[in-house]
């Protein structure tokens, strides 16, 4: 008797493999949903920055930090669960959400939140990829082992979102009478723009998003131009 076309064991093996894959995705969806909620909340609180004078940052940032704590907790759960599986197999599922979470942390820190005791409330601090990893208590740019981490791309994309938000803040800080803030943002955004020029980009998402930085630069420069035209730039430039 000739062997059958398909070994029955093969079907069972593949079926259970697909089912396992499906279940992992379901579980991930749940965690990512939760992370999304915390990120949305935190972003919402952060958006108040546009209508809050600098003197009241501290209270606002305290609230933001609470949201971030929730993010960190959920990222921890995500990390623990996802590390059981090949990282890049599922990375695309959470990458976007993690980018947004990274943005909230970078922006919060830039505005003076999450600051080290030595320099409380210092505005203009940029968290590096390593700092972001420390904040979330996860590794970054892992290469030697297969586990959850934050990638360079995620960090850069998160940073670009911050640049965009800051260009908006430049406008609104002037409205609130804080011209020095606009000048400081201008310096920061220009420096970052120069930094992004250093990268060799391929024609991918990152490149498209990097291209958008120039609009942020333009927006901020326009604000500074308006100010300088009217001699409204504070004598002690914060650059």
């Amino acid at each position: 008797m000739a062997p059958p076309m398909i070994d029955p064991a093969l079907f069972d093996q593949l079926k259970s493999k697909i089912e396992e894959d499906t279940n992992v995705r379901k579980e991930l969806d749940q965690i990512i949903d939760e992370l999304n909620q915390h990120v949305s909340y935190t972003q919402g609180v952060l958006s108040r920055i546009h209508s809050t004078p600098r003197s009241k940052y501290e209270a606002l940032l305290g609230q933001v930090e609470n949201g971030i704590k929730q993010e960190i907790q959920t990222v921890g759960r995500l990390s623990a669960f996802a590390s059981q599986y090949p990282y890049y197999k599922y990375n695309h599922k959470w990458s976007r959400t993690v980018q947004d979470a990274i943005s909230t942390v970078i922006l919060c820190a830039w505005l003076g939140g999450m600051s080290p005791e030595s320099k409380p409330g210092e505005v203009g601090r940029l968290l590096t990829l390593e700092d972001v990893g420390k904040a979330f208590e996860v590794p970054v740019n892992l290469k030697d082992r297969d586990a959850f981490h934050i990638t360079i791309e995620e960090y850069l994309l998160g940073l670009i979102a911050v640049v965009d938000d800051l260009s908006r803040l430049a406008v609104n800080s002037v409205t609130l009478g804080d011209n020095a803030m606009a000048v400081q943002i201008s310096g920061f955004v220009k420096d970052l723009h120069a930094g992004f020029q250093v990268l060799n980009l391929k024609n991918d998402t990152l490149r498209k998003r990097v291209d958008s930085i120039k609009y942020a630069v333009k927006k901020v420069e326009d604000v500074v131009y308006d100010l300088s035209l009217r001699n409204l730039i504070p004598a002690q430039g914060s650059q």
């Binding site: 398909i6 079926k15 420096d191």
Partner: protein, 309 residues
């Protein structure tokens, strides 16, 4: 000669004056950080480029194997010698390419570049097809994986003897020039279930083409050898296609890309239908054919033209 620059009162500026300091890339506090990130990203992009190149070559070679196999006319345990020779030489080339690929896709990088590794599906298609033509069975994932691993390691060993043309090989190969490495230490390529499944999806298309041409040219449905005296009728490719069709219908939808899955499943259904019709034609009209009658090949080809890709 371009025009000269002038100052505000219209006097031409001297061109040979002291040149302004060479324009420096604007450096600031963040430049070093971006330079580090750039190097990391470059490494990733370069690796992907190398993978894409090797992958494209493997795909082309696999397709050539499939074309060779489509010149087989019946299922039997030995492929015709000339075709076997073609397949072997292609496989030897694939083997070398796999060996260059292997160090690039170890560990975390296996899935990082899985989208650039379509060649594995194509290779699965070629290997499963060859296996079917020889044994009339579907090789399982567990049987196929070691074959691919073996190919990869063999490629590394044969390549070792030659002067390595590819200097861009990275860390993964650093240990290689040492005395003849045992195959166990060599990086290999693991075949994922998805590679396997999508390869087998494509196998149905090849089986359909094989069924069509072999039926047209030999006048009988491809089937196994008659099983001894008094045994059951040997299985034909129609039954095999049915079984493969059922196999995929019963499997849960692969969650990696449902869209892809449904598309492939639909193509599989069409292939099954075509082979069914072929079987029906054989039964109904086959008896009317005079001995040695060969159908007009041009019509036989029409049915599959849209299936070529």
């Amino acid at each position: 000669m371009s025009g000269s620059k002038r100052d505000w009162s219209g006097n031409a500026k001297r061109r040979d004056g002291p040149k302004p300091a060479q324009k420096q890339v604007v450096r600031n506090a963040y430049t070093p950080m971006f330079e580090l990130l750039r190097n990391e990203l470059d490494e990733h992009h370069d690796r992907r480029e190398r993978i894409v190149k090797a992958s494209r070559d493997i795909t082309a070679l696999s397709k050539k194997i499939i074309f060779s196999l489509q010149r087989v006319r019946k299922i039997e345990s030995q492929l015709p010698a000339n075709i076997q020779a073609e397949v072997d030489s292609r496989l030897a080339e694939i083997s070398k390419l796999l060996a260059t690929l292997a160090p690039e896709i170890q560990g975390i990088n296996r899935y990082r570049y899985s989208r650039n590794l379509m060649c594995l599906e194509e290779l699965v298609e070629a290997l499963t097809f060859a296996h079917y033509l020889k044994t009339q069975t579907l090789i399982s994932h567990a049987e196929l994986s070691p074959i691919v691993e073996d190919l990869t390691q063999k490629g590394a060993v044969t390549r070792d003897g030659e002067v390595m043309g590819d200097a861009s090989d990275t860390a993964g190969n650093a240990a290689e020039p040492a005395e003849a490495p045992t195959t166990e230490d060599l990086p290999t390529i693991s075949l994922t279930e998805d590679d396997y499944l999508y390869g087998v999806f494509d196998l149905t298309g090849e089986m359909m083409r094989f069924a069509t041409t072999s039926t047209a040219l030999t006048g009988s449905m491809a089937s196994g050898q008659a099983a001894g005296a008094g045994g059951d009728e040997p299985r034909t490719i129609v039954q095999d296609m049915h079984e493969l069709g059922t196999f995929f219908e019963m499997l849960p939808v692969g969650p990696e890309s449902r869209f892809q899955w449904y598309k492939k499943l639909e193509v599989t259904r069409q292939s099954v239908r075509k082979v069914e019709t072929l079987g029906y034609d054989r039964i109904v009209r086959g008896s009317e054919r005079p001995e040695g009658w060969v159908p007009d090949l041009s019509t036989g080809d029409q049915g599959q033209r849209d299936e070529l890709e």
